[in-house]
Symmetry: C2
Subunit: 455 residues, 2 copies
């Protein structure tokens, strides 16, 4: 096929496309705040209208929460591959509003960058797919794949309707690959395909040493102190080399391949970048692995919070009765979250001082995700990115979890392509969320090139 007219169209209509995106960004579709429910509907309708304009079959699907917007090619050609595009039209709240340099819902362009809530996460990214489809339509170029689209409005509010809908409607969403543009490139000069996400097991445990807070003079040295006992358990979770001590924890870990290690090394991630991004004085973690290997390819364990006893001003001479901690573990393929939760629980109960009462709860879990790098869709993604962004694309992994990915993999039995157009410093979820104009324009082209790759 000849992609040139499509790319030319995108080049020529940049201003019009940006104007459209700005209208979309003006809608304060904050899913976490009930008062914005009318804006949620408005954003869903904006999507419906745009998708109808693209000559797709469109449905606004009501749920107990916010509507799903579904669309598909009017003619589904069984000889073509089918791509399912996922995105979300809702956005994060804007607090703390004082820290914004520009009003979050009055998109402002400064130095070829748009500042607006939701511009990177995810309105600007999902809009690129619509722009690519439009370019094919307007240039009468046949799209070489069948299109399916599912947009949700609860991603930032923790809603579960997309999960239920996917599990209940695998035929409707059936596809050869899922495309998600809701993540980042490696950096401004390095487009990237993320082919693995970590899973998670989030635990909480609480210990009780005495029936009430006790006077530390009267009972010091004669009963087990809950805070001391809690700290001892936490200290037993990892050794001084950062190796997790829970027996069996590493059993099913898929070791990084040599080629992955080389790919990571080629990114030349530096301690200086880490220090700058975290404010930490030095990298630290499991011995024997580089920073990127630990960040992307090794399971981790972090205390997310601790509490117990008196934390106010001055001193209170008590032996606290109870203490607690939240602990999350990020898992890699092929660790099983349920198994890890069980091992964690058993280990905490085993190492806890015998005079402590201990309760261990699992708060939530997500399975890790791995998409084969040699899969056709992954290779197509890499090629499309290199053309769209005119830079060598890299393979990266991600330490965070995107639970919908595993749901798509499991229910649709399809690979997921994480075709991120944003940047790590787009300030998503923070004040001054932003998106480079060039990433919007290059994203539009990249989706077009992806269609071309699959022709």
């Amino acid at each position: 096929m000849n992609i040139t007219p499509v790319i030319d169209y995108l080049e020529k209509h940049k201003d019009q496309h940006l104007k459209e995106l700005i209208e979309f960004l003006k809608i304060p579709s904050i899913s976490a705040l009930k008062k914005h429910k009318p804006d949620i509907e408005k954003a869903a309708d904006f999507m419906v209208n745009k998708l109808e304009e693209l000559d797709l079959d469109v449905e606004k699907i009501q749920t107990p929460g916010n509507p799903l917007v579904y669309a598909q090619s009017k003619k589904m050609d069984p000889s073509k591959k089918t791509l399912l595009f996922y995105g979300h039209y809702d956005v994060q709240p804007v607090d703390p509003i004082d820290l914004w340099d520009y009003p979050p819902f009055e998109p402002t362009i400064v130095n070829d960058t748009i500042y607006a809530r939701g511009v990177s996460d995810d309105k600007g990214q999902l809009y690129s797919h619509l722009m690519a489809i439009e370019a094919f339509r307007q240039t009468s170029t046949e799209i070489p794949v069948n299109i399916k689209i599912i947009f949700e409005g609860e991603e930032e509010g923790g809603g579960e309707n997309i999960y239920k809908f996917t599990e209940n409607n695998p035929e409707k969403l059936a596809c050869d690959a899922v495309i998600i543009s809701d993540t980042s490139q490696y950096n401004e000069n390095t487009p990237a395909i993320c082919y693995s996400l970590k899973g998670i097991v989030y635990m909480e445990f609480r210990v009780k040493g005495s029936g009430m807070d006790l006077h530390s003079g009267s009972f010091g040295g004669v009963v087990k102190n809950a805070c001391n006992g809690l700290a001892e358990i936490i200290a037993d979770l990892k050794n001084k080399d950062g190796v997790i001590q829970i027996p069996g924890f590493y059993d099913n870990v898929l070791e990084l391949e040599q080629s992955e290690k080389e790919e990571f090394a080629s990114l030349q991630y530096s301690d200086e970048v880490l220090k700058k991004d975290t404010g930490s004085s030095a990298p630290h973690g499991e011995k024997g692995y580089t920073t990127l290997e630990r960040m992307w390819g090794r399971p981790t364990l972090d205390v997310n919070g601790i509490w117990g006893g008196y934390s106010g001003e001055g001193g209170k001479t008590i032996i606290p009765s109870t203490a607690g901690a939240k602990v999350s573990m990020r898992l890699v393929p092929n660790q099983n979250p349920q198994r890890i939760a069980k091992l964690f629980r058993e280990y905490v109960l085993q190492v806890a001082h015998p005079s402590l009462e201990v309760e261990v709860d699992t708060l939530h879990t997500a399975v890790p995700v791995l998409i084969p790098r040699d899969h056709e869709i992954t290779q197509s993604g890499i090629n499309a990115l290199e053309k769209g962004f005119a830079n060598k694309a890299k393979f990266i992994r991600e330490g965070g979890s995107i639970p919908i990915v595993a749901t798509f993999q499991k229910s649709l039995k399809a690979p997921v392509l994480l075709l991120g157009y944003g940047l790590p410093n787009d300030n998503i979820h923070s004040p001054n969320e932003r998106y480079l104009l060039q990433n919007f324009y290059n994203g539009n082209k990249t989706t077009a090139y992806l269609f071309d790759e699959l022709s």
Copy 2:
């Protein structure tokens, strides 16, 4: 001398003495609450009037806080020993008021027990000294010692005026012994002399691992987690046998003598009592010592509080930037609080993970106290108790700290007799504070017998 008329007088005037005490208890002299300032003055004046009635020279000494009430014998006989009685006329707040079975300032007698705020701590106890003096006066029996009295009104409010006054007026308060009735007997059948108090060092330390809270997916496994690091430091403070690991910590500890261990053992303190009093499932502490030996004669270390990261409902996937802990150590003779604070600080800095920033502060200290058991005043106290309470008296120590004791020892160079008339379950500082009538009457006699012992 003939003590019989004095004791007879006390026996015959029980009702009158109780009535007087009840008037004193009706004054809500809560030092922690500003609105009770007039009641503080009223209680101080009540003391002034009573002391004048006892034919003493009395002064109400104004301070920047609440008044001190000072009194002394009109004739100070240089051939007699001088006793300084200390007590406090202020009381604790009454919250939670809902949990009181009787109004805290309407003294109520049920089953030969008075229920009222301050009855055990310290109004009922200090009043016994006044009753004994009255009995000598009214029976024209010569008191065989010179009397000095200092009562304060800030003990429950953390005021420091008594300390300053003592340090600035050592001649005025000069004495052969200080008598304090503001502690407890061992139990209902065992009067006791407490001859040692622990000192204290109260520390706080805070650690910082990163410049801000980080996403536990993005940065898990690559920077030091402040909560994990804090827990590791705490876990390093004691080993599994409860032995404190700070180098040099035990250097100056005065080991318990064999006779002390035997005295403690004779009290037959049981695990069952400990479990009942603490709600703990089992005793725990430094290996090689009995529960009472640890409670009274060994230095201890307890975390009083910990904080860091997220402790609300559900999960928040952060690597906390900072975490902190409060840690108090109870010291025994001859440990030096300043030295221990320094050793603690050095050890925490040494064991802390090198990529943590650590701050260590000393919040407050008190020196441990030891009064020789073979001192004349201690022996006189034991004898007086045995007569007053008609039961064998024991030697006990105390795990808590009473900072004024060390101030008296240091400024006045005099031994302090802790002649406690209360019981451990008098509910001091709690709802339903109470005092057995027999302890009031026996206390009156005990102070009288103490004078007799020193004749």
